[in-house]
Symmetry: C2
Subunit: 129 residues, 2 copies
């Protein structure tokens, strides 16, 4: 299949697929006229990337999973590097929730008592998912 069909079947755009290729996450055969040609294995890769992004992993973080699938494993997260990414992400999520809990309490306190002026110390931690 060509890039348009792959995009449609994966529910994404051709631009995203070309971007993945530029990042070395996706490779493609080329037909004689220069068109990219994909198969079901590539569709699987794209779906893996999307799933991981949906969990909040960066594209960079999906790299080990893709490599794992390419290496022939049936599941992208059965390789040590992938599992390490999971563990790191889990730690990030925990830290993020802790920080959000603090923020939440601060907001509640501010909403409850109007004239207080307690402010939490700035933390450098960046919380996103």
């Amino acid at each position: 299949m060509r890039i348009g069909e792959l995009a449609k079947r994966a529910g994404t755009t051709t631009r995203a697929l070309r971007f993945y290729e530029s990042q070395g996450l996706l490779e493609a055969q080329r037909t004689s006229n220069g068109y990219r040609e994909y198969d079901d294995h590539d569709l699987r890769l794209v779906r893996e990337i999307q799933s991981l992004q949906a969990v909040g992993l960066s594209l960079e973080d999906t790299r080990p999973f893709v490599a794992c699938l390419r290496a022939g494993h049936e599941s992208g997260d059965s390789c040590p590097d992938s599992r390490e990414v999971y563990r790191r992400k889990l730690a990030e999520v925990d830290a993020c929730m802790e920080r959000l809990q603090t923020v939440r309490e601060f907001l509640l306190a501010r909403l409850a008592f109007q004239d207080r002026c307690l402010v939490p110390e700035p933390k450098e931690f960046q919380c996103s998912s």
Copy 2:
């Protein structure tokens, strides 16, 4: 005081202060040679902005608080618009924590059972603080 001293006393940079001015958050008197001149009231404003940013509010969201202080209130969050920002942010935080909880459970499950292939549906919600 001039911009350098204000930056030092607020623990930020001159660039940040000029940026706040460009966003209409901070105003400054000008001396005859064109230098910006600030007073303690401005320092208070900057500190308010920093506190709110530390909680995860965007610069845009700090606008009502600054306006509230400018209007003469002793606390930036005693005005309706400010409190509305608090409420909205609280809702965002709650949604974010809920989402993180889902992600967390997913990660734990994946780490526990290697060969499963359940993936949560992609959510469009953007979670950051």
